[in-house]
């Protein structure tokens, strides 16, 4: 068979092997395996990650011949902004309260738009604040600090 690497499969194979390898290492370090009759806390992880490693190897090897299938471009900017917006929400919601966090989250996420329109974003923030207030604070009464001073 001619070598025709498939980037997607090779990446997936390596990912599974690496994940399984790390987990197997941690498992042998800290969890007793036990016997088949009386399984320790490390028995099922050993089985699971052992099988995963084997599958990873199979995917990797078959990936050397089934290509070429390139990995599509990563939308780093969009991804970064969305994940950042969510992280910022998590970091700030307890300290700054829900109103500021929500505005920050929407503001950052909106930067992923092709054309950034500040007025539109402000309008959206205002609308979402009102909607979330009614839905989450007033109706569902979830326990969440609303303003920086309300803790």
């Amino acid at each position: 068979m001619r070598l025709r690497p498939d980037a997607q499969d090779i990446f997936a194979g390596v990912m599974f092997i690496a994940f399984a390898g790390v987990m197997l290492y941690l498992n042998f370090e800290s969890h007793p395996i036990g016997t088949a009759r009386r399984m320790g806390s490390g028995y099922m992880p050993m089985l699971t990650f052992g099988i995963l490693a084997a599958l990873g190897v199979a995917i990797l090897i078959s990936g050397l011949f089934t290509g070429p299938e390139p990995i599509g471009r990563f939308a780093w900017r969009d991804m970064g902004l969305i994940l950042l917006a969510l992280t910022v929400y998590g970091l700030t919601v307890e300290r700054l309260g829900f109103v500021i966090s929500l505005a920050l989250c929407i503001g950052i996420a909106s930067l992923a738009e092709k054309v950034w329109k500040p007025l539109r974003v402000l309008g959206l923030i205002a609308f979402m604040l009102a909607l979330c207030w009614v839905l989450f604070i007033w109706y569902l009464d979830i326990r969440i600090p609303v303003f920086p001073w309300s803790r």
Binding site: A58, L83, I106, M128, C132, F136
Partner: protein
């Protein structure tokens, strides 16, 4: 059964449950109409909102979202050649052609009527098969259960799209992620890295929301937006006598096929609609019209996907085994509510089982009304641009995840799985098997341990017990069958839209 069904109606007809059913069906239709947001993402998004409800109400609403999406998905397929859901991709083939020929009305009508008939039939099937299967499942020992779950996992991986080995890998990785947390038997912390939040395991809702909700947003953002305005006018929203004659048999066949596929692990709406279309195209008397606007080509798949959406509840309600990602979410919802899904559920939670069935029937009735006369409203919904929609979805995610435990940790878990979900889509790894593996993993470990303890460590117990042995044999057959090139080609064709 009749008595039980009547009891179910008394449960479903309370004001609280009726409104839950209506909200679910309405939301389901909305997300079905909107491309780029599916039932899995929506249900995981709304999961936190249901914690405060009684279990029955919560499940009724979440179920409504799932089958509602099957109705709504057809609308945009027919009117704009834009499938709102994966299960409606196939409807674009003939549905859009019908709309172009000025027959948008009958196309929409047959989609709704077919769905309604299929939904009602499938509901009766759930009511009839549920107690029956439960009786069988109660005779299962731990070894049989383990084999059953293994079969479920393997079949669902085999039937999912793309590379089978990668699907199985994702599933096993999901089982592995399910091991994180406190080991139930020994009380030992596994893979928690001394993070207190991880001692209860990785949160189910943050994981699902990240992989399906957040990753979906990123994927939609990178794709250019294509939305055409509606060009056709909607004519009469009903069928002529002649059309009724043409669609009766396709609806019946679609319902039958959909009901069967729905019960299979990994089955569910998408696979069934494609199967039904392929079947219809092969045996219909109007073969030559397919692809040019055959009403049969709308009736069969739309009936099938709705039937499958309902019958996929059977394995969940009777065996506690989720057949697809949506059902995995239902397991999560039940467990959070303190209900262990399994064969004892019908007896222990009669409200939930019979109430849900009755609500499905009521929900289907509501959906016909929501969809047919109100079609104009749904078309208008499509005009909401995505740049206003995705920040809203994101913020719902953020608030929902945070409110699970009032802890930012869950938000960070969502971020991690958002990244992973996006990465998986780039390397052709389907996320659904991972979610199913994650849900089934802990149960499998428990049954494996119990089985091995009973057999004194002898693994032959899995082959010696007849039920277990036949289930394992089925799993082997499924794997071997998919390795055969001719069958694999058939599956890929069916999934690629015939």
């Amino acid at each position: 059964m009749l008595e039980n069904l009547l009891y179910g109606f008394t449960v479903a007809a309370t004001f609280q449950n009726l409104s839950a059913c209506f909200i679910g069906a309405l939301l389901g239709t909305a997300i079905g109409v909107l491309p780029g947001i599916g039932p899995v993402a929506t249900i995981s998004l709304l999961l936190p909102l249901t914690f405060g409800m009684p279990p029955t109400t919560a499940i009724i609403m979440l179920a409504g979202i799932y089958y509602g999406a099957q109705y709504g998905g057809s609308t945009t397929s027919i009117l704009m050649n834009l499938p709102g859901e994966v299960s409606s991709v196939i409807t674009t083939l003939d549905g859009y052609q019908m709309a172009k020929n000025g027959q948008a009305g009958p196309a929409l009508a047959v989609a709704a009527i077919g769905s309604f008939i299929a939904g009602c039939t499938a509901t009766i099937l759930v009511a009839a098969l549920g107690p029956l299967l439960t009786a069988v499942a109660l005779s299962f020992g731990p070894a049989d259960y383990f084999s059953l779950m293994l079969l479920g996992l393997i079949v669902s991986a085999v039937l999912s799209e793309g590379n089978v080995v990668k699907s199985i890998g994702m599933m096993v990785a999901g089982v592995g992620l399910g091991l994180v947390g406190t080991d139930v038997q020994t009380g030992q912390q596994r893979f928690t890295f001394d993070i207190p939040e991880l001692s209860d395991g990785i949160g189910f809702a943050p994981m699902a929301m990240g992989m399906f909700g957040i990753a979906e947003i990123i994927r939609n953002l990178e794709m250019p937006e294509v939305r055409e305005a509606l060009k056709t006018r909607i004519s009469r929203l009903w069928l002529t006598r002649d059309e009724w004659k043409r669609v009766a048999a396709p609806i019946a066949r679609g319902t039958t096929l959909g009901s069967i596929v729905g019960i299979l692990p990994g089955g569910g709406a998408a696979l069934s609609s494609m199967g039904a279309y392929t079947l219809e195209r092969r045996i219909s008397r109007n073969k030559h019209l397919f692809g040019k606007g055959a009403i049969e080509g709308v009736a069969a798949p739309e009936s099938a996907n709705n039937a499958a959406a309902q019958t996929s509840f059977i394995p969940l309600l009777t065996l506690g085994i989720p057949a697809n990602a949506v059902m995995a979410l239902m397991v999560g919802a039940l467990i959070i509510q303190g209900i262990q899904p399994g064969p004892r559920m019908i007896e222990a939670q009669p409200d939930l089982f019979w109430g849900l069935i009755a609500s499905m029937w009521l929900g289907n009735l509501m959906l016909v009304i929501i969809n047919l006369p109100m079609i104009g409203m749904w078309v208008r919904l499509l005009k909401v641009p995505y740049d206003l929609m995705y920040p809203a979805i994101l913020i719902f995610c953020a608030i929902g995840v945070y409110s699970l435990n009032n802890n930012s940790f869950d938000v960070y878990v969502t971020v991690v799985f958002g990244f992973l979900g996006y990465l998986f889509s780039k390397i052709g790894c389907p996320p659904a098997p991972m979610l199913i593996g994650f849900v089934l993993g802990p149960m499998m470990e428990e049954h494996l341990r119990r089985a091995m303890l009973l057999s004194r460590g002898n693994p032959m117990v899995f082959i010696e017990r007849p039920i277990s042995a036949s289930l394992l044999a089925l799993a082997v057959i499924a794997v071997v069958a998919m390795a055969l090139p001719s069958i694999r080609k058939g599956k890929d064709e069916a999934l690629a839209g015939g």
